[in-house]
Amino acid sequence: MVASLQAQHHLLHKAVEEYKKGDLVKAREAIDQVSQNAETSAEPKTWYYRGVIYKDIYKAHETENHSSEARMNSAKSFAKCISMGHSEYSEECSNGIKYLASTMYNDAARDMNAEIYKTAFINFENYLEFESKINPGMVDTLAIFHAGYTAYMDHDYDKSIKYLGKSMELKYTDPLSYYFLGKSYLNKGDYKNAEIFFKQGMQKYPRDKKIARILVNLYQESGNQKELVQILTQEIKKDPSNIEYLLLLGSSYEKLIVQDSTNKKDYIEKARESYMQALNVDPNNLKANYNLGLLFYNQAVDKINELPFDTDLVALEDIQQECKDLFKQALPYMEKAYELNPKNKETLIGLSGIYFSLHDIENSNRIKTELNSLEK
């Protein structure tokens, strides 16, 4: 037992000597053996030298390797030495870790900029781990955020949720935290939590357009028209010339007409207002013209479809007049959409339908012929 311990101490001495001579290969062989021995592995000196040897291996051969094993071994060895309690090596171990952690951070940043997110994340995570060993009270919220961001970009959503959530707990202020955290939940299929964080982000950063946009997308995908209307209305107030949002608002009101027929009249009017506002911004917008034309057309068609068969002929005359007015209102918008793009199939179908409904069979057939030639 004593002989074995002596042999290990001898080996540790040899490792130090080889290191001092600059033979890092022999130094590593010796220190790895020493560190695996039960007695010598309990000595801070062993881990300090292991840290030093591996650090120099890293510096000599692996600085370009962003997943350097030598660096990891070195940092772990220094950390182990520190964990054994205060010793004559503690300060140097701290400095070693400080140096290595900064290289990890820099590699992470380089990889993040080069969009190599897997190693970027690993290095941010390692940086945070080793920084916490030497500065337990210090919190680098930016690095925590970056760990979350790179994990997100690497599609590791459990990790991105962990780090982005932590960065928020630590009051890291950036609307992107809410954006990426919400997106992480969304990509995991957790719509509820995604919505919570997007909404929090919007409350905290009301001027941030990205979060509003993603929330718009979220409600659009989920078909939650009432929430969609609410957020679009808010955003349009901030920028009344946002034509995309105006069109989306109109289309959302149109979907509400189907979902909530009790307020149908109100929704139709609001859809009309949204499209009209879009046309005020850009009178040559194809979608605004098409959608407005179709809104009037659909109203007329719905009125006809909803008629009971026993509607008397006097009432039928009045309804026909209403429908005729609606078809006539639809026509100029659909004609404008046609003028803007005569090859658009939807427009051709809509325009032909409006002409037909107005009993203008000649024009209806002309447009149908154009549609048929497009489909050939």
Binding site: A109, Y179, L247, L248, Y290, V301, L307, H359
Partner: protein, 175 residues
């Protein structure tokens, strides 16, 4: 060692902006014509022999109003009579019916139809200009973008149909 400057990837968020989707019905006026036809049954009296059994509405060939007529037949009776829709692919397939609708595409066959139904009390309904004068009882026309109808009372009388004066006041009477 200096810490690296960080840059974020550009965020691209696309909105799925689409055209309002709606497939227009082939003929929005078809329903209106069927409502007219249902109303005609209230204002026209058929001979007593026609007041028993099913009330048959025939359609010559393909017509855009057939689906609406079939919906009518499913949901309504004509007085106490069950309503039935029969499609006659050609003139020679025509059988005894209370109403026969001839779509515009089949209008050229009106004379043959009239020969085929001679002696029957059939309300012939057409939808091409001039046909009320050529033998149909009711002819749908478009006046100022609205669906109206012409009514030829003498053609009705020839077929043993009694037309109420109220219906005449609602249509355009042709002699």
């Amino acid at each position: 060692l200096k810490f690296q400057r960080i840059k974020y990837c550009q965020l691209f968020i696309f909105l799925a902006l689409i055209f309002s989707s709606y497939t227009p019905p082939a003929d929005p006026n078809a329903k209106i014509k069927v409502i007219f036809i249902y109303n005609f049954t209230k204002y026209i009296e058929w001979p007593s022999a026609y007041k028993k059994g099913d009330f048959v509405i025939g359609v010559l060939g393909n017509a855009s109003l057939t689906p609406d007529l079939e919906n009518l037949a499913k949901t309504k009776t004509i007085g106490t009579q069950k309503c039935v829709v029969k499609i006659f692919p050609t003139v020679k397939d025509i059988e005894k019916c209370h109403i026969l609708f001839i779509p515009v595409e089949e209008s050229d066959g009106l004379d043959l139809v009239l020969k085929k139904i001679k002696g029957m009390s059939t309300l012939v309904v057409t939808e091409k200009a001039g046909l009320a004068k050529r033998g149909s009882v009711i002819n749908f026309i478009n006046v100022e973008n609205k669906q109206k109808f012409e009514l030829n009372k003498s053609n009705a009388n020839k077929n043993g149909l009694i037309v109420s004066s109220n219906l005449m006041s609602l249509g355009i009477v042709i002699d």
